[in-house]
C-alpha cells in the first residue's frame, strides 16, 4: 500500500524535474561563464559583491519585501479570522470577491494605481474633499506607492492560506479553552494562533518570496527610486543581453529566497511545537 502511494508523487516530480530543475541547471552553467563565452569563471558573482550599489539595491529589495509581508499579515489575519469564524454564509462571497480582481491583467492593475495615486488623481481629490489632507500628497513615485501596489498584488493569497488553516480549527476547541477559564486573548495566543501557524507560514512565503523577484510594481510606481534587484535582472536580460551576469544575479536571488524560506520554516516550527 505504501509503495503504491509513493508512485503518486512521480508525475508531479517528473514535470518539475524536466521543466524546472534541468532548465535551471542549464542556466546555472550560464552564470559561471564569462561573456566571451569560454571556460569557468566566478567573475559574474564577484562583480555583484564588489559593487556597493548592487548591495544597496539588494537591501532595498529586502526591506520592501519585509514591509509588504508584515503589513499583508496584519491586514490578512483579521480578515481570514473574521471570514472563518464570524461570517458564516457571507464568507464564500468574500472569498470569491478576493479572487475576481486577479482575472484582470497585472500591468493594467498597476497602471490603474498610477492613475489613482497621481497628483490631482482620484485619491488626492477624495482626501481633499474629506478635508483629511490639504493640497498635493505626492504619494505616487514613493516607496509607499510601491508597497501599496505590492500588497495589493499579493495579500489575497495570504488571506486564502490563513483562512484555509483557520477554517479547520474546531469551534469546540475554542469553547473548551474558554470553559477552562482562559481569557479570549489567551485562547487566541495559546490555541488559535499556533493552530493556524501552517497557514501563516505558507502565507508569509507566498508573499515574501515573489516580492523579492518582482519588477513591475517597483518600476512603474517607484519613480526614480524604483530600481530593485528584479529590475536589474530584467535589464540584464532585456536591455543588454547580459545573460551570464543576469543568471548570476538570479541565482543570488534564489539563494536569498532559500535562506529566508528555511528561516521562516524554522520559526514556524518552533512556534507550532
Amino acid at each position: 500500500m505504501k509503495n503504491n502511494k509513493r508512485v503518486m508523487t512521480l508525475p508531479g516530480m517528473a514535470v518539475l524535474f524536466f521543466c524546472a530543475i534541468v532548465p535551471l541547471f542549464i542556466m546555472l552553467a550560464y552564470s559561471f561563464q564569462s561573456d566571451s563565452g569560454t571556460g569557468f569563471t566566478l567573475e559574474n558573482y564577484s562583480r555583484f559583491f564588489t559593487k556597493t550599489f548592487y548591495l544597496t539595491l539588494t537591501l532595498r529589495t529586502i526591506v520592501n519585501s519585509l514591509l509588504v509581508t508584515v503589513i499583508s499579515l496584519l491586514l490578512s489575519y483579521p480578515l481570514a479570522y473574521i471570514m472563518a469564524k464570524h461570517l458564516k454564509g457571507l464568507k464564500n462571497i468574500v472569498m470569491v470577491l478576493l479572487i475576481i480582481p486577479f482575472f484582470t491583467n497585472q500591468l493594467v492593475r498597476v497602471y490603474s494605481w498610477l492613475i489613482f495615486l497621481q497628483d490631482g488623481g482620484v485619491f488626492e481629490r477624495l482626501m481633499n474633499t474629506l478635508g483629511l489632507v490639504d493640497g498635493t500628497m505626492g504619494l505616487l513615485y514613493t516607496r509607499a506607492a510601491v508597497i501599496i501596489g505590492l500588497i495589493h498584488a499579493f495579500f489575497p493569497y495570504m488571506v486564502i492560506t490563513i483562512y484555509m488553516a483557520l477554517e479547520r480549527l474546531d469551534n469546540s476547541l475554542l469553547e473548551a479553552s474558554s470553559c477552562l477559564g482562559a481569557s479570549k486573548t489567551t485562547t487566541f495566543f495559546r490555541v488559535v494562533l499556533p493552530m493556524s501557524m501552517p497557514g501563516v507560514i505558507t502565507g508569509i512565503m507566498i508573499v515574501f518570496v515573489p516580492c523579492l523577484g518582482t519588477f513591475v510594481e517597483p518600476r512603474i510606481l517607484g519613480g526614480v527610486n524604483g530600481t530593485v534587484i528584479g529590475t536589474v535582472i530584467e535589464d540584464q536580460f532585456f536591455e543588454i543581453y547580459g545573460w551570464n551576469f543576469g543568471a548570476a544575479i538570479a541565482f543570488i536571488l534564489l539563494a536569498m529566497v532559500l535562506v529566508s524560506m528555511a528561516a521562516i520554516n524554522r520559526l514556524g516550527r518552533r512556534y507550532e511545537g
Binding site: F53, G120, G223, N225, E239, Y241, G242
Partner: protein, 359 residues
C-alpha cells in the same frame, strides 16, 4: 453528493467544450491556410507593418498570409533570431544595437538591393547606413528613422527649449520625465557636457551629471504608455521622448510639441532584414519593397509614424508637420545617430546607469 456530481459534470463539460473549440478553430485554420504561403514577420506592435489596411492589400496582391509576432526590445529580437529555427522568421526589424552582432553571427541573409524597386528612391545617407553593412555587403534595409529628443507641453512652456540641458534645468524640477534607458541617459548627458555622444570621454562626469539630474525628475519612464498618460494627466511638462510618439500624441490633440534642440539629440534607424533560413525570400523582398515604397512611407509618416527614408515620401509631407515632428532636414542634420556598442561598452554604460538609479 449530488452537487459534487454536478460540479464534476460542469468541469468535464467545460473541458470538452474547450477542446472542441480548440479543435474546430485549428482545423478550420488549416483548411483555409492550406493553399496560402505564410510570411512570418517580427516587428513592433502598431508599427506600420501590422496596419490592417496594409496587410489586407499585401495579402491580396501576393495571395499569402502575414503572421505578425511582436518584440518588446531589440535584445529580445536578437534572442529570437539566435534561438529560432530555420523558417521561423522571414522578416524582422533590427536596429543598430543588434545589427552587427546578428550579421557577425550569420543570422541574417545578405540583401540583394536589385530586387528592391524602391531602393533607389532612398535618401543617400540611408543607402550607406554604416550598421547595415559588413565587408561592403548589405544585410539590412533602412525602413524609418526618428529621434529621441525633447517633447514639451506648449501650454506651460511657451518657447521651444534650445538645448538638451533643459532636461537638466532646475527650473523644471519635479516636472521632467527622463527615460529609463542606459543608452539615452548616457548620450543625452554627453550632449549637455559637450562630449561625443557615441564615444564619451569622461564617464565619471556623465554619472555625476545624471545623479544631479535625478532629483529633478517626476519619474523615469520605461514605456511610451507611461509617458503619454503622465503627460495627458498634466503630471509632467517636458521629457526625453521619441519623435514618433510625440507626433501621434499631437494628432490626438495633446498640447505637445517636439524639438530637436540646437546642440543635437539622439537619432535612430530601424531596418528590415531577412533571417538566414527564411523559406519565403521572394515574398520577404516583396514585403520590404512595399515597406519602403513612397506611398506606404508617405501615408504612415503623415498618420503619425516616424520619418520616412524614402526621399520622395519625405518631400511630399507638409513641411510644417515635418518640422513639428522633427522630420525636417534641419533636425536630421543635428542628430547623433546611435552606433553599435560592444558588449563591454553596453555593460559599462548599463552599470553606470544602474548606479545612478541606486543612488
Amino acid at each position: 453528493m449530488k452537487c459534487k456530481k454536478l460540479l464534476v459534470g460542469a468541469l468535464a463539460l467545460s473541458m470538452v467544450l474547450s477542446m472542441a473549440a480548440c479543435g474546430s478553430s485549428s482545423g478550420e485554420k488549416d483548411a483555409k491556410d492550406g493553399e496560402k504561403t505564410k510570411l512570418y514577420v517580427v516587428n513592433w506592435k502598431d508599427y506600420g507593418s501590422d496596419d490592417a489596411d496594409f496587410i489586407a492589400a499585401f495579402e491580396e496582391e501576393y495571395n499569402c498570409e502575414i503572421v505578425n509576432t511582436y518584440m518588446s526590445s531589440e535584445e529580445e529580437l536578437l534572442t529570437k533570431l539566435r534561438t529560432s529555427k530555420e523558417g521561423d522568421i522571414d522578416v524582422c526589424l533590427p536596429n543598430c544595437t543588434i545589427l552587427p552582432a546578428a550579421i557577425n553571427e550569420g543570422l541574417l541573409e545578405q540583401v540583394d538591393t536589385s530586387k528592391l524597386t524602391n531602393f533607389d528612391s532612398m535618401f543617400e545617407r540611408f543607402k550607406t547606413q554604416k550598421e547595415c553593412f559588413k565587408d561592403d555587403k548589405m544585410y539590412a534595409v533602412p525602413f524609418v528613422w526618428g529621434s529621441t529628443a525633447i517633447a514639451y507641453n506648449t501650454e506651460v512652456i511657451k518657447e521651444a527649449p534650445k538645448s538638451m540641458s533643459a532636461l537638466f534645468d532646475k527650473a523644471y524640477a519635479g516636472k521632467i520625465a527622463f527615460r529609463d534607458d542606459y543608452n539615452d541617459a548616457v548620450m543625452s548627458a554627453a550632449i549637455v557636457l559637450g562630449q561625443d555622444p557615441n564615444n564619451p570621454s569622461d564617464l565619471d562626469a556623465i554619472k555625476a551629471k545624471l545623479i544631479e539630474q535625478k532629483a529633478l525628475n517626476k519619474t523615469y519612464w520605461k514605456t511610451g504608455d507611461e509617458f503619454s498618460k503622465l503627460f495627458a494627466g498634466k503630471q509632467i511638462d517636458l521629457g526625453l521622448m521619441w519623435s514618433g510618439q510625440a507626433a501621434a500624441m499631437k494628432k490626438d490633440n495633446q498640447p505637445i510639441s517636439f524639438v530637436v534642440p540646437e546642440d543635437g539629440a539622439i537619432g535612430w534607424v530601424d531596418n528590415w532584414a531577412i533571417p538566414s533560413g527564411s523559406q519565403n525570400k521572394d515574398l520577404a523582398y516583396a514585403f520590404i519593397d512595399w515597406m519602403i515604397s513612397k506611398d506606404f512611407q508617405y501615408n504612415w509618416a503623415s498618420k503619425g509614424g516616424p520619418a520616412p527614408v524614402n526621399q520622395a515620401a519625405a518631400e511630399a509631407i507638409d513641411p510644417e508637420y515635418a518640422a513639428s515632428a522633427g522630420m525636417d532636414e534641419a533636425s536630421l542634420n543635428r542628430l547623433y545617430f546611435m552606433e553599435y556598442r560592444t558588449d563591454e561598452v553596453k555593460n559599462t554604460w548599463n552599470e553606470l546607469w544602474t548606479e545612478v538609479k541606486a543612488e
